[in-house]
C-alpha cells in the first residue's frame, strides 16, 4: 500500500483539480448564456482561418513588437511544454520516471527543446513584470488598473516564474542524479539550460538531490493544478477563451452596426397601417441595460479579455483625457456578470439586486465620449468588440430612459422634422447647385 501512496495522492489531487475546474467553467458557461442568442455559426471555413491566423498565429499581437515577441515566447512555451506535462501526469499516475524516454534521441531533443522554451518563457515573463512594475507603462497604470486587476496580473507572472523555475530545477537535480548513476534515474533527456542554471547541484548528496528533484516535481504539477483553478477568477482565462472568442469574431465590415430587429418590427407596424400586432410577441427591447440584455458573444468577449489595454491606449477619447476606457467597459461587463452569477448561486434565479451594468458600473459620461471610430476593435489582439457594447448601452439610455444629451435631442428633432441634423429645410437640399 505504502509503495502506491504517492500515486494515490497524485490521482486524488488530479481528480480534485479537474473536478473544481469543471465546476467553475460550467458556471462561466452558464453566465455567458445569460446573454441573448446570436447565431454566429456561418462561414465556418473563414472562421477556422481567422482563428488560425489571429488566435493561433498571434497576427495582431505583433503590431506592438516587444509585447508581441515576448508573448510569443510565453504562448509557444505554454502550448509545447504541455507535452511534458502529459508525461508528468502519466508518471504521476503510474509511479514511473520519464516514461516517454523510450523515444531515445528524439526524447532527448524534446527535453532540451522544452528547456530552451522554459528559459524563453522566463525571459518573457520577467520582461512583462518589469513593464508593469518598473517601467510602469501607461496602459498598465491607467485608472481601472487597481486592486484585483493589478494583483491578478502580477499573480499570473509570479506563478509562471515558479512553474518554470521548478521545471528547470527538477531537470537540474535529475541531471545531477543521472551523472551520479543513481538508481531509478535512468539516463534520459538533455539539459542545455538546467545544467547551466542549476549546475551547482552536481556532486551534491544524492539523497538531497532526490528530495530537490521530487519537491520540484510536486511543486510544478501542484502548481499547474492550482493555476488551472485560478483561471476562472483571473484574466488569464484568455489562454482558453481566446480561441473560441476569435472563432466567433464579427465577420462583417466593422462599420456595420447591428439593426435592432425589435425596432424594425415596430417601424414596419408604423409604416404599414394594415399590419396587425402579434399578441404573443415578446415586448420589444431597446438597447441593453444589464448583462443579460447583451448578446452571449459580448459576454464571451468580457471573459476573454486579458486587460492588456491596447484598446484603451488607442482610444481617441481616452487619449484626450475623457473617462471612457474600452478596457473598463469589458472589465465592468465581466464584473457585473460575475455578480449576477453569484446572485443566482446564492439567492436564486429570480433575485433582483436592483443594480445594472449602466449606472452601477458604466456611467453615461463614459458612453457619450465614444466617437465610434473602431480603434478599440481594431487594436484588440483577439477581436473583442467593446464598441458594440457601448452602442447597445447608448441605445438603452436614449430609447428607454430618454437620457440623451440635450444637443443630441435637438439633432434628433432636426432629422425628424427636416431630414438633416441641422435646421435647414429639406426643400433647400439642392440650393448649392445654384450658388
Amino acid at each position: 500500500m505504502l509503495t502506491y501512496i504517492s500515486n494515490i495522492i497524485f490521482i486524488a489531487l488530479l481528480s480534485t483539480a479537474v473536478y473544481f475546474f469543471t465546476k467553475n467553467i460550467k458556471k462561466i458557461i452558464r453566465n455567458i448564456n445569460l446573454g441573448q442568442d446570436q447565431d454566429l455559426t456561418d462561414n465556418k471555413v473563414q472562421r477556422w482561418g481567422i482563428m488560425a491566423r489571429v488566435a493561433m498565429g498571434q497576427s495582431k499581437m505583433i503590431t506592438r513588437p516587444v509585447a508581441g515577441i515576448m508573448h510569443l515566447f510565453v504562448y509557444v512555451g505554454f502550448i509545447l511544454i504541455n507535452i511534458e506535462v502529459l508525461e508528468i501526469i502519466i508518471d504521476g499516475i503510474l509511479g514511473t520516471h520519464r516514461i516517454l524516454s523510450f523515444m531515445g534521441g528524439f526524447y532527448n531533443f524534446l527535453i532540451g527543446f522544452f528547456e530552451v522554451l522554459a528559459l524563453l518563457v522566463l525571459v518573457g515573463v520577467i520582461v512583462f513584470w518589469a513593464r508593469r512594475n518598473v517601467v510602469k507603462l501607461k496602459r498598465f497604470t491607467a485608472t481601472e488598473m487597481k486592486g484585483w486587476a493589478v494583483t491578478d496580473a502580477n499573480n499570473i507572472l509570479y506563478i509562471e516564474i515558479v512553474l518554470m523555475t521548478a521545471v528547470l530545477m527538477m531537470n537540474g537535480a535529475d541531471h545531477a542524479l543521472q551523472l551520479a548513476n543513481y538508481p531509478h534515474y535512468t539516463q534520459a533527456g538533455s539539459f542545455p539550460i538546467s545544467s547551466v542554471l542549476f549546475g551547482w547541484l552536481q556532486g551534491m548528496n544524492p539523497t538531497t538531490l532526490m528530495v530537490i528533484e521530487r519537491a520540484c516535481w510536486w511543486l510544478h504539477i501542484i502548481g499547474i493544478f492550482l493555476f488551472l483553478n485560478y483561471l476562472p477568477i483571473s484574466k488569464h482565462l484568455h489562454i482558453l477563451l481566446a480561441f473560441p472568442n476569435v472563432w466567433y469574431s464579427n465577420l462583417a465590415a466593422k462599420g456595420k452596426f447591428k439593426n435592432n430587429p425589435d425596432i424594425t418590427r415596430e417601424v414596419n407596424l408604423m409604416l404599414n397601417p394594415s399590419a396587425t400586432i402579434d399578441p404573443n410577441a415578446a415586448p420589444p427591447k431597446f438597447g441593453a441595460k444589464d448583462v443579460n440584455d447583451l448578446s452571449w458573444i459580448q459576454l464571451l468577449n468580457a471573459y476573454s479579455c486579458t486587460e492588456c489595454g491596447r484598446c484603451t491606449s488607442n482610444c481617441p477619447a481616452n487619449q484626450t483625457g475623457k473617462l471612457l476606457s474600452p478596457r473598463k467597459i469589458m472589465m465592468d461587463t465581466r464584473d457585473r456578470m460575475e455578480e449576477v452569477g453569484k446572485n443566482i448561486d446564492t439567492k436564486g434565479v429570480d433575485f433582483n439586486d436592483g443594480k445594472a451594468l449602466v449606472g452601477n458600473y458604466i456611467t453615461a459620461e463614459e458612453l457619450w465620449a465614444c466617437t465610434s471610430c473602431n480603434a478599440c476593435v481594431e487594436s484588440c489582439p483577439i477581436n473583442i468588440d467593446p464598441l458594440s457594447i457601448i452602442m447597445d448601452l447608448r441605445q438603452y439610455l436614449v430609447l428607454e430612459k430618454s437620457e440623451a444629451p440635450q444637443s443630441l435631442n435637438s439633432m434628433f428633432t432636426n432629422i425628424e422634422n427636416n431630414g438633416a441634423p441641422w435646421q435647414y429645410s429639406q426643400a433647400d437640399r439642392l440650393k448649392w447647385a445654384n450658388e
Binding site: 481617441p316 484626450t320 457619450w368 466617437t371 465610434s372 444637443s407 439633432m411 445654384n434
Partner: protein, 262 residues
C-alpha cells in the same frame, strides 16, 4: 435646370430614362458651406467625364447615421425605411457619396432593411475614372508638394479602404507623407459617433487638436481629407494652432478638380 447642370433622378424619370449612378450628396454636402465646395468639385468632375449621374435633391434625407450612433435606433430605421422606399422606387442600383458616414450606412446597414445597392466612396470612383483613362490628371500646382492623408474612420477601419484615396493623391505627382498614426492605426478626427452634434465630454484636450498635432508633425502643407466632418475638425484644429494659412485642408475631389483645371 440649375447653374451647375445638376439633374435630379426625377428629371431623368420625367424623360423616361434613368441615371447610371446616384450621387448621394449627404447633409453636410448639401448645407455646410465648406462641404458644398466639395460637392461642387465632384459635380464638376462628373460633368467633365460625362457620366450619367443624378442627385435626389429635395427627395434626399439624412441616412440616419448620426441618430443610430447616438442611440436613436428608432429614428435611424425610420429614416432608412423612407430613404429605401425612394431609392427602390427609382430603381437605384449604384450610389456614390463623398461622406464616409453615408457610404457606410448605405452600404452596410441598409441591405438588411431592404436597400441593396452598390455603394462607393467618391475616392473609389475617382480612382476608377483615372485608372480607366476617363479622367486625366497631372500634378499641376500640387506637383512635388508634401501632402498627407487623414483616414476617415468610416472609410478606413470601418470598411477597409485605405488604398483608393492614396492612389488618387499619388496621381498628382506629390510627395505623400504618412502621419505617425495612419491606416488601421489612424486617429479619429473627433466627429464620429454623433460627436459632431454635441459638446465633448470633460477631458484634457479636444480629439481634433490631438489629430492636428499629427498633421503638424508630418510637415505636410496640404492635409487631404475624404470626409466633410474630418474636414471641419481638421480645419478647426489648424485654426487653433494658427496654421490655417500655412496648411490647407482639401478634399481629394477638390484637389483633382483643381489639378484637372475644372
Amino acid at each position: 435646370m440649375n447653374a451647375l447642370n445638376v439633374k435630379t433622378v426625377a428629371d431623368y424619370t420625367a424623360q423616361g430614362t434613368k441615371p447610371d449612378i446616384l450621387f448621394w450628396v449627404g447633409c453636410a454636402g448639401s448645407f455646410d458651406d465648406r462641404a458644398k465646395k466639395i460637392t461642387k468639385a465632384i459635380v464638376k468632375i462628373l460633368n467633365h467625364v460625362d457620366i450619367k449621374y443624378a442627385v435626389l435633391g429635395a427627395e434626399e434625407s439624412c441616412t440616419g447615421d448620426p441618430a443610430k450612433r447616438a442611440g436613436n435606433e428608432f429614428l435611424f430605421q425610420m429614416q432608412a425605411m423612407s430613404n429605401i422606399a425612394i431609392l427602390n422606387g427609382y430603381e437605384v442600383k449604384k450610389i456614390v457619396t463623398a461622406c464616409p458616414h453615408c457610404f457606410n450606412t448605405l452600404k452596410n446597414e441598409y441591405p438588411e432593411l431592404g436597400g441593396h445597392y452598390e455603394v462607393i466612396h467618391h475616392t473609389q470612383l475617382l480612382q476608377e475614372l483615372i485608372d480607366s483613362g476617363k479622367l486625366k490628371v497631372e500634378g499641376g500646382t500640387f506637383k512635388g508638394k508634401k501632402i498627407t492623408f487623414h483616414d476617415p474612420c468610416y472609410l478606413g477601419r470601418a470598411n477597409g479602404e485605405y488604398l483608393a484615396p492614396r492612389a488618387v493623391i499619388e496621381k498628382l505627382d506629390v510627395e505623400l507623407v504618412e502621419m505617425k498614426r495612419c491606416k488601421t492605426n489612424g486617429l479619429c478626427c473627433g466627429a464620429g459617433g454623433a460627436q459632431m452634434f454635441k459638446e465633448a465630454e470633460k477631458g484634457t484636450k479636444e480629439v481634433n487638436i490631438e489629430r492636428t498635432e499629427d498633421v503638424l508633425e508630418s510637415k505636410a502643407t496640404i492635409v487631404a481629407a475624404g470626409c466633410p466632418f474630418c474636414n471641419t475638425m481638421l480645419t478647426d484644429g489648424l485654426k487653433h494652432y494658427n496654421k490655417q494659412d500655412e496648411i490647407q485642408v482639401m478634399d481629394i475631389a477638390e484637389m483633382i478638380a483643381q489639378a484637372a483645371d475644372l
